[in-house]
């Protein structure tokens, strides 16, 4: 009998029952909740007179709407009245149902996908869901984690289960080591460039290979975070010593004898050597350069050393049409050098790249340099209050502010611009976030996705730059 993949093991451990059509109920261990996709779910529970099945499995924090200045004023300090109602509604709901909650002025508050692992609320081997597509982030720890819609948020609250069919297994193996100056973000953008935004549809992707094993757990989170940008609801990485060490001593992690028992079980969370995958993609890590997206879909990505692609050389007419539309929206001409594209704003943050390692990487580039005079705004938004605190202890905030960056308070911020941080029409942004869709960062705004180091380099130079030149590589 063939061995099991990591996904097979996680799936099998969570099946409650299946019908004869292979539609199954799978059990959910951890449910993360934020303010945007939960109000209608709580309302549904109330209308049906239902209670959460296992209230201790739920952890909530506001992130999408929170302002990144003046958070000490709490909910009352949110200027936008509609956003304020939404955050206040979350507060009412968590109190009514007795859910663990990190409110706006709690140091543990932050982007839900940063907070979950940081608190040890996410653990290896768990099933983790959240009403947010970037829940795939948590797969970095050998968990089965994916985004769900609001109906499913209500379903998990009420039943602790999800109705699902098993997905297919896909392995993306990034073989060999990456070159100097190439980061987790560059790896995942290169993967999406290769397989496309629908490449992983219907699959759970396991990321493997030396380049993935070499990454820190934070880097693996960046890669799994963007699995959804490759069409896969779930991305994951096998457990190793780095994974287990990460959770030692975290508030929600098991302690004492339970820790020993858990850590031993987690060692098994790897694909068997004889496991078979439905789809296998191999990428030579050495071929990956620092990446920059040029269009309005994450698959529209090239290396910093490249030029903007030409739709005329695309044989698929629907695709060529999409490229033309993207170039028009982005205000770019085919053939121009990526490194000649100027930027108006820079955003370092989001659930993709707002952890301490990301901030260190950007600060190393910013240190002793100055944001270009042509850059209107360069924001650094830490992923959580604890990331912010640690960065300040390391003096990173000073490096950023001395270079001309703004040092903000935690939240989703300009990744999706639900709060006041946004692009104006026509503004061009070097962003460490995950989506370069039309209007994502503000109506008419133009987003280029890059790594934190590349974003810092663009801020310093005023245009995209091969960060390796600033790093003397």
């Amino acid at each position: 009998m063939a061995g099991k993949t990591l996904y097979d093991k996680l799936w099998d451990a969570h099946v409650v029952r299946c019908d004869d059509n292979d539609t199954c109920l799978i059990y959910i261990d951890r449910h993360l909740v934020h303010e945007v996709t939960s109000p209608q779910a709580f309302e549904g529970l109330r209308l049906a007179g239902r209670k959460p099945w296992r209230v201790d499995s739920v952890v909530a924090t506001p992130d999408h709407n929170v302002p990144t200045t003046g958070q000490s004023a709490g909910v009352a300090g949110i200027a936008d009245p509609i956003a304020r109602i939404q955050v206040a509604t979350l507060e009412q709901n968590v109190h009514e149902f007795g859910i663990t909650f990190f409110p706006m002025n709690d140091p543990r508050q932050g982007i839900v996908h940063v907070v979950g692992p940081e608190e040890g609320a996410t653990l290896p081997g768990m099933t983790v869901v959240c009403g947010d597509s970037h829940t795939s982030t948590h797969g970095a720890f050998g968990a089965l984690a994916h985004g769900i819609g609001t109906s499913e948020v209500e379903h998990v609250l009420a039943t602790q289960c999800l109705v699902q069919k098993k997905m297919k297994n896909m392995l993306v193996s990034v073989d060999g080591p990456v070159g100097p100056g190439v980061t987790a973000k560059d790896i995942v953008l290169a993967i999406i460039g290769r397989i496309g935004t629908a490449g992983g549809t219907g699959h759970a992707i396991e990321f493997g290979g030396q380049a993935i094993r070499d990454l820190s757990v934070e880097g693996r989170m960046t890669v799994c975070n963007m699995a959804i940008e490759a069409g896969a609801r779930a991305g994951m990485v096998a457990v190793d010593e780095k994974t287990i060490d990460y959770f030692r001593g975290r508030p929600f992690a098991p302690k004492g004898e339970l820790w020993e028992q858990a850590a031993a079980a987690w060692q098994e969370l790897v694909s068997d050597s004889d496991a078979s995958f439905d789809t296998v993609v191999r990428i030579d890590a050495a071929s990956i350069q620092p990446q920059v997206t040029w269009g309005t879909s994450p698959e529209m990505v090239v290396a910093i050393t490249d030029t903007v692609p030409d739709p005329a050389s695309e044989s698929d007419e629907v695709k060529a049409d999409g490229m033309r539309r993207a170039l028009e929206y982005m205000g770019l001409d085919a053939g121009m050098n990526i490194s000649d594209i100027p930027v108006d704003k820079v955003f370092i943050g989001s659930c993709t790249n707002s952890r301490i390692e990301d901030l260190r990487e950007a600060a190393a580039v910013a240190k002793g340099r100055t944001v270009a005079a042509t850059v209107k705004q360069a924001l650094v938004v830490p992923g959580s209050g604890l990331v912010k605190k640690q960065a300040e202890e390391e003096g990173l905030d000073k490096i950023f502010t001395e270079a001309g960056f703004e040092w903000r308070e935690p939240g989703c911020s300009m990744c999706l611009a639900m709060n006041a941080d946004r692009l104006e029409a026509g503004e061009r942004c070097a962003s460490t976030s995950n989506r370069n869709f039309e209007g994502r960062q503000g109506q008419g705004g133009r987003t280029h996705l890059v790594s934190p180091a590349m974003a810092a380099a663009a801020a310093i130079k005023g245009h995209f730059t091969d960060v390796r030149e600033l790093q003397n590589i």
Binding site: Q40, I82, I85, T150, S151, E154, C161, T201, L258, R435
Partner: protein
Amino acid sequence: MEKFEKMTAIVAPLDRSNVDTDAIIPKQFLKSIQRSGFGPNAFDEWRYLDHGEPGMDNSQRPINPDFVLNQPRYQGAHILLTRKNFGCGSSREHAPWALLDYGFKVIIAPSFADIFFNNCFKNGILPIVLDEAKVDQLFKEVEASEGYQLTVDLSAQLITTASGEAIAFEVDAFRKHCLLNGLDDIGLTLQHVDAIKAYETRRQAEAPWLFS
């Protein structure tokens, strides 16, 4: 959830691939704590010439005449025809809520993003996957003939064109059953309370740290 059985309706063509949920309903409208009322802001940035915000009187806003859904011939459409990977990006269920509130009950495309596809069924929308050649053919027919309609019969799993061509489609048996009967997933799952409790007892013995 409303039952879905059979319908005949005008088809609107949205000739783009990778239409994301940010485009279907922009972020500023996600601040609502309701499930309804998103229809006037479906495709807001494509549909209007100004910048939309919650609370605006949408009937007074300048319409983008170039956006296909604004063309008089597609008014009253309940079937949306589009290209591959429809609904990619964010998991926001506000996207199917907006499409349903706009009037779409059926979406036909060569492929859908997983989360969006799933969210459709939870709200009584039927997403239908047809191969690219068939979708291409339907685009040509819709554009060639004003008032073009299709009949969609879920129980027979058949689309019928005005000329009488029958096109079969696949749908998951469980989802079909739920749509046809307008069933609430939660109610169905709660029929298996004993299985869930038995799982918890077993799992707690195997992995007690998950319950501590």
